[in-house]
């Protein structure tokens, strides 16, 4: 077994923390885990493509995901979902997109307008088995006082829908050890997302 998750977003959004949460949950379930964080110059404001891979040690060895081979792509920033198509293909990849924009300074500077959500979806469609869109950051700000909880909400969503083959309790435990300072809010965020995901699952 092998499951490839790509997380993408903008430096400073908490993408790396989310990678650690998922990696720990997979480890709790006894999977062999690999992954990589492509950060460096992009402490803040740059793109952070991040991978978590889990399954059997025989099948999982490269730290990064192969082009066109992600099972699941979580885009914490909407525009970055388009750049992530490099790792996606129609037969395999599900996109879960946070409807949240961090407009790069280059939109104004080079006069290249930021895409609308419908244009983003249009561009992703040829690479996606399914696309789900959630206003996770807005929900985080509204219910928990900070947009950054959108990440954990989205992890809850994919677990609730059944897109991430890991148990709810493994993720709960992983969240507890990964975010000790903001544990309470992160657990709440996860439960919020889980509920949203379950609703989505029952209506589809």
């Amino acid at each position: 077994m092998k499951f490839d998750v790509m997380l993408t977003g903008v430096g400073g959004e908490g993408v790396l923390t989310t990678q650690v949460m998922i990696a720990r949950a997979a480890n709790i379930e006894g999977h062999y885990v690999r992954g990589v964080q492509l950060h460096g110059l992009a402490q803040r404001g740059g793109v952070i493509p991040t991978f978590v891979r889990f399954g059997s040690e025989k099948e999982v060895s490269s730290p990064g995901i192969m082009q066109a081979n992600a099972d699941l792509i979580l885009a914490f920033e909407a525009l970055e979902a388009v750049r992530a198509t490099y790792y996606a293909r129609k037969e395999k990849t599900t996109f879960v997109i946070n409807d949240y924009s961090l407009v790069p300074i280059y939109a104004s500077l080079f006069n290249i307008p930021y895409l609308t959500m419908s244009e983003i979806i249009k561009r992703i469609k040829p690479f996606a088995k399914r696309i789900h869109v959630f206003k996770a950051s807005h929900l985080g700000r509204e219910k928990l006082g900070n947009a950054i909880f959108g990440n954990t909400i989205l992890v809850g969503v994919v677990t609730g829908i059944g897109l991430l083959p890991l148990k709810e309790d493994s993720l709960r435990e992983a969240i507890r050890v990964t975010a000790p300072r903001e544990m309470e809010n992160n657990v709440k965020a996860f439960e919020l997302g889980l509920q949203l995901g379950r609703e989505k699952r029952s209506t589809r």
Binding site: G12, Q19, V20, A23, R24, A26, N27, H31, Y32, V33, R34, V36, Q37, L38, H39, G40, L41, Q43, R44, G45, G46, V47, V52, E57, K58, E59, V60, S61, S62, P63, G64, M66, Q67, A68, N69, L79, V82, R83, T85, Y86, R89, L102, V103, P104, I105, Y106, S108, L109, F110, I112, P113, L115, R123, P126, F127, S137, I148, V177, T178, P180
Partner: protein, 630 residues
């Protein structure tokens, strides 16, 4: 990942490669660690810094890599297991002191960890291949391929070092350092932290003719290491057919997975001891093969070695490597698979080129997102003021730190970037032969690391047109993840110390100095104008804390940062805040297609530095919540 490196033996934990290196060192009983941070190696010292007190070992952030290497040498000579870590360029700094220690050898185990950065994820400048150093300095080098091996080979490197009394390189690359993987823990060994230096002319006296004795001893050590460990450390994974793969480091992981994807099972030789490479190991592997593919990132070091050995062992062997794969950039699955397709004549199910074309078409006219200085960064404010005073024509010398991002639009104020402290040195040469205005930027950590001799050199030679040196002082080594330096006021062990003031050092070096608040445009411009008009060595210290740390400190106290808003009545949409100042927290967006743009501040990422308030010509930006208000 927090305190995971101290988990119980037998536990399986997911760690970063860098964290696994720390665990390996702890299991080897390391007692002394000194380092200067440099990404992709930075999490090694950061992890040591977090746990040093708890484990009872000594850790320090040294002022640069050379000093760190020397300090660790002192500990290893005195019988305490020691380690130093750095990125590839850091090893260039330390390089001056390494070869003599290769000749004298050490007493306790001494591991020199180095992180190369193919693809330059965390570097500018070059993609140097540090494996050449092992050959030039005649030191053994081990290369792990995943986090588990990071632990295992760090531990082994200490034993190897102690057995042969020789420093050992542990060489990694970004995709080892920053990759995560499941790691199984062994026992942590209680560190020995006290030792004693014993005078020993036979070991340390390195003047000729004894120098040649030491040199021959080193040659003999390498010969013995090759003989004893060449077969033991390198591994053969048996397979089918007459075509073999020879690889090392992360390339092994790509090879393994790519072959599985292609349904191929050729024999693989994994080189772990990449210096000295075992002649007999390679010879045995290639003697019955028709062809081999050598998979290694950057330089064809293994490949050239195989070519040399094949002359005797198997002259008809076809050797592939850099004929099919590039010498620049890093490898990955989609690079390795086409090389395997060619050699084995087997087609993979996905056409990568075709897929890439579809991606390019979907990504057409996509707003680029290059890294930028953070919202609230004091450097943005300083760059803005310097450009106001010196204009577009002045030469802007760059250096290494967050301010490297000043090379990008719209700042464009890093005309060249060489190495730590080099902006000042290069500016001296320009000033001797040209009358151009030169401004040399340097960070606070970089100032202490390598800039001081260059400033002293101005005072000494006192010739030509001296540039203005602008020290961007945010009180921390920010880019690599907020490590302390001599001006920060605390050490890597978390001890409070009296911070060294940059202005005091500058004065002692014989330059005139002014200090300005980095968040005050008025103060900055006044100081810059004054300095512009004076002759001789001159320095502006632009001081303002990294806002990411300020935010952290505010949060810890339960306080909030101020919140700002753009008054839509006053805003004339001139675009200075977005296009000249270019803070990422200020957003220009058109609500209706084809409609008028609206400028606003994103409260999720604004860090409340209030510089935009000062640069808005209409006074349209104001605080809606003051600092500290709930």
């Amino acid at each position: 990942m927090k305190m995971d490196v101290l988990e119980e033996p037998g536990k399986k934990v997911v760690l970063l490669g860098n964290e696994a290196i720390v665990r390996g060192a702890l299991e080897a009983g390391v007692g002394f660690v000194a380092a200067y941070p440099g990404t992709p190696s930075s999490e090694v010292p950061m992890t040591f810094s977090r746990i040093a007190k708890k484990v009872g070992l000594y850790f320090e952030y040294s002022s640069n890599e050379k000093v760190a290497f020397e300090a660790a040498t002192g500990a290893a000579w005195s019988g305490v297991r020691a380690m130093t870590s750095q990125k590839h360029f850091g090893l260039n700094v330390a390089a001056d002191s390494i070869p003599p220690v290769a000749y004298t050898g050490v007493r306790a185990g001494f591991v020199v960890m180095v992180a190369d950065d193919p693809s330059a994820w965390s570097s500018a400048q070059t993609e140097q291949d540090t494996r050449y150093y092992a050959r030039m300095f005649k030191l053994p080098m081990l290369e792990p391929s995943n986090p588990q091996e990071c632990l295992d080979y760090t531990k082994l490197a200490f034993d190897l070092s102690e057995e042969f009394e020789i420093p050992v390189f542990l060489r990694t690359t970004t995709k080892i350092n920053h990759s995560i993987g499941t790691v199984r823990f062994g026992e942590i060994k209680k560190p020995k932290i006290r030792g004693r230096f014993q005078k020993d002319p036979d070991k340390y006296y390195n003047l000729k003719p004894h120098l040649q004795v030491l040199h021959e001893r080193l040659n003999e050590k390498l010969r013995q290491i090759e003989e004893k460990y060449g077969q033991k450390l390198n591994k053969v994974f048996p397979g089918e057919g007459k075509i073999g793969i020879i690889t090392s480091g992360v390339s092994f992981e790509y090879a393994k997975e790519a072959l599985l994807e292609l349904g191929l099972k050729p024999p693989i030789a994994k080189i772990v001891l990449t210096h000295p490479i075992s002649k007999s190991f390679v010879s045995n592997f290639i003697k019955d093969k028709e062809a081999v593919l050598v998979l290694e990132e950057l330089e064809p070091i293994l490949e050239n070695f195989v070519k040399q050995i094949a002359k005797e062992a198997n002259p008809n062997l076809v050797i592939h490597g850099k004929d099919l794969l590039p010498k620049s950039d890093e490898y990955n699955l989609e690079r390795v698979i086409p090389a395997l397709e060619k050699i084995f004549g087997k087609k993979f199910g996905i056409d990568f080129d075709d897929h890439k074309k579809k991606v390019d078409s979907a990504s057409k006219n996509l707003t680029p997102r290059k890294p930028v200085l953070c919202p609230g960064c004091p450097h943005r404010s300083t760059f803005y003021a310097v450009k106001k005073v010196f204009g577009d024509e002045a030469i802007y010398a760059g250096d290494i730190g967050c301010y490297i991002l000043g090379a990008l639009d719209p700042i464009n104020m890093q005309d060249f970037i060489v190495s730590m402290g080099a902006g000042i040195g290069v500016s001296h040469g320009i000033g001797i032969v040209s009358d151009q205005d030169v401004v040399a930027f340097v960070g606070d950590s970089t100032f202490f690391h390598a800039a001081m001799p260059a400033i002293l050199n101005y005072r000494f030679n006192n010739a030509g047109k001296t540039p203005l040196i602008v020290v961007l002082d945010n009180a921390i080594t920010a880019m690599t993840g907020h490590q302390p330096h001599p001006g920060s006021g605390f050490t890597g062990m978390g001890e409070k110390v009296e911070p060294v003031k940059i202005e005091d050092v500058v004065k002692a070096l014989g330059a005139q100095v002014k200090v300005s608040n980095a968040f005050s445009q008025k103060q900055l411009i006044q100081a810059l104008q004054e300095l512009k008009s004076i002759e001789g060595p001159k320095v502006l210290v632009s001081r303002g804390g990294c806002r990411l740390l300020t935010r952290r400190q505010f949060r810890a106290k339960g306080l909030t940062l101020p919140v700002f808003e753009i008054d839509q009545e006053k805003c004339t949409k001139c675009g200075i805040c977005t296009n000249d100042f270019a803070c990422p927290a200020i957003v220009k967006a058109t609500v209706e297609p084809g409609g008028e743009p609206v400028y606003s501040i994103n409260p999720d990422i604004c860090l409340g530095c209030a510089v935009c308030v000062q640069i808005c010509p209409e006074g349209a930006i104001h605080a809606v919540k003051k600092e500290g208000e709930k």
